[in-house]
Amino acid sequence: MDRVFAALADATRRDIVTRVLHTEASVSELAQKYAMSFAAVQKHVAVLQRAGLVTKERRGRQQLVRGDVDTIRAAARLLEQYEEIWRDRIGRLEQILAEPIEGE
């Protein structure tokens, strides 16, 4: 999981994940989207791959990169649960705000 964090710490890598989550893309297609070399993009993809955020599949001459929905989904589920914690907090906070003001 530390790899997931390290992988997502970089803005380009986050952008790659977002992109390939919706539509798969080849490494060369990705390289065209960013102002960096094919090798540099390939390195980013390798980091994402090790973190389990994307998968790479060779199809013909192309290497297709696809976002791993399961990893992202697991993170989404956690956020959903954390949101519940905050909803409860805000509920309690409101009760305090609803109390009559005294000695302020």
């Binding site: 964090f5 992202i72 989404a76 905050w86 705000l97």
Partner: protein, 162 residues
């Protein structure tokens, strides 16, 4: 429910929660600034929070613990990065040892709180940014346990009244 909107960004590991509160920013500020008020809402009834230190200034830190149903204590620390009354609070939030010293092994959460005055009171926007999904798992595991315990407590209360 006054929570008006939430935004989850699983790729950036952030959660944004926006609530409309029926009190002016100066009063909402108090529930953050005053540790006696803060501890009444930060932890759920079954895992109440106790703030033993709360230096609400830029660079200042807070130390709190939450007490579980079995008397177990979970310690946490905050370090305030921004304190702009009554508008912005920004702090790092992490796990601590019994003395309140930050646990360097554990990642921290970055919290950004913004209060905006509205016609009916205050719009509070809280953004939490996590360091890793592993850390979120730990926080949620604690929170979920709290949630279940709180729900159980409520059921007990209803049964006692019946």
């Amino acid at each position: 429910m006054t929570v008006v909107r939430t935004m989850r960004d699983p790729e950036a590991l952030t959660l944004t929660i926006i609530a409309e509160l029926a009190a002016p920013p100066s009063r909402v500020w108090q529930v953050w600034a005053d540790p006696r008020r803060l501890e009444r809402w930060w932890g759920p009834p079954t895992w109440p929070a106790t703030f033993v230190a709360h230096d609400f200034t830029v660079g200042g830190s807070a130390h709190y613990y939450m007490t579980g149903p079995g008397g177990e204590k979970a310690h946490g620390w905050w370090r305030f990065v921004t304190v702009e009354e009554p508008r912005v609070i920004e702090f790092e939030d992490g796990f601590a040892d019994d003395a309140g010293a930050p646990d360097p092994e554990m990642p921290t959460t970055h919290a950004h709180v913004e209060l905006e005055e509205t016609a009916d009171g205050t719009r509070m926007t809280v953004t939490s940014r996590f360091a890793s999904t592993e850390q979120m798992e730990q926080l949620v595991a604690m929170g979920m346990e709290e949630g279940i315990q709180a729900a159980m407590g409520q059921i007990d209360g209803i049964l006692a009244e019946a």
